[in-house]
């Protein structure tokens, strides 16, 4: 079985601060991992994806994520957040043709 856990339901940071959103996964093989973002009243949009190779992957809007097999983690990071980054972020794991999502982390960026 596979699962994705996002331990932080809500995160609040100040504009310009760095950000880390945590994601832990459970999967027996090397996973296909994704981060999606959901802005208010919209569907989900892909931020970045990891299949193999370099454990640090770059995404859109200066987001990056680091895969760690030893820790079963795929944390999302950004060096300096902007108010427009306020949204809900979902970590997801791909198993064959199905994507399994975590419960999401709501990010609020304060001025």
């Amino acid at each position: 079985a596979q699962s994705v856990t996002q331990p932080d339901a809500r995160v609040t940071v100040s504009e310009g601060a760095s950000l880390q959103l945590r994601c832990k996964y459970s999967y027996s093989a090397t996973p296909y991992l994704f981060w999606y973002v959901q802005y208010p009243r919209q569907g989900l949009q892909l931020l970045l994806k990891y299949y193999s190779g370099d454990p640090v992957v770059q995404g859109v809007n200066s987001f990056e994520a680091e895969f760690s097999k030893s820790n079963s983690s795929f944390h999302l990071q950004k060096a300096s957040v902007h108010w427009s980054d306020s949204a809900v972020y979902f970590c997801a794991l791909g198993n064959y043709n199905v994507l399994y999502f975590g419960s999401g982390t709501k990010l609020t960026v304060e001025p």
Binding site: V4, Q6, A9, Y32, F34, Y36, R41, Q42, G43, L44, Q45, L46, K49, Y51, F90, G94, N95, Y96, N97, V98, L99, Y100, F101, G102, S103, G104
Partner: protein, 114 residues
């Protein structure tokens, strides 16, 4: 740009009512999915399909039927709606299966069952 269109965007029905949610994609994608989104649960897969006439069962299929009539169209059917099915429903499509592709989501259909 991949396009997935859902209708209706908002729907209110009563317990026991009959609801059909529609999804159309114009990307020639093989895979289409129906998810429901609930606070604290993230997105949970209801049904998916890899082509016209095909249907695969997801993680939370109880109370839902689905039908893929064409490459473009995927419908979610609630024949006896219950309040527990009040949720935000998302349709998505993917061109290459999730192991290589990415999902393109519609804007969601909010369903309220009174």
């Amino acid at each position: 740009e991949a396009a997935v269109t859902q209708s209706p965007r908002n729907k209110v029905t009563v317990t026991g009512g009959n609801v059909t949610l529609s999804c159309r994609q114009t990307n020639s994608h093989n895979y289409m999915y129906w998810y429901r989104q609930d606070t604290g649960h993230g997105l949970r897969l209801i049904h998916y399909s890899y082509g016209a006439g095909n249907l695969q069962i997801g993680d939370v299929p109880d109370g839902y039927k689905a039908t893929r009539t064409t490459q473009e169209d995927f419908f979610l059917l609630l024949e006896l709606a219950s309040p527990s099915q009040t949720s935000l429903y998302f349709c998505a499509s993917s061109g290459a299966g999730l192991n290589t592709g990415q999902l393109y989501f519609g804007e969601g259909s909010k369903l309220t069952v009174l």
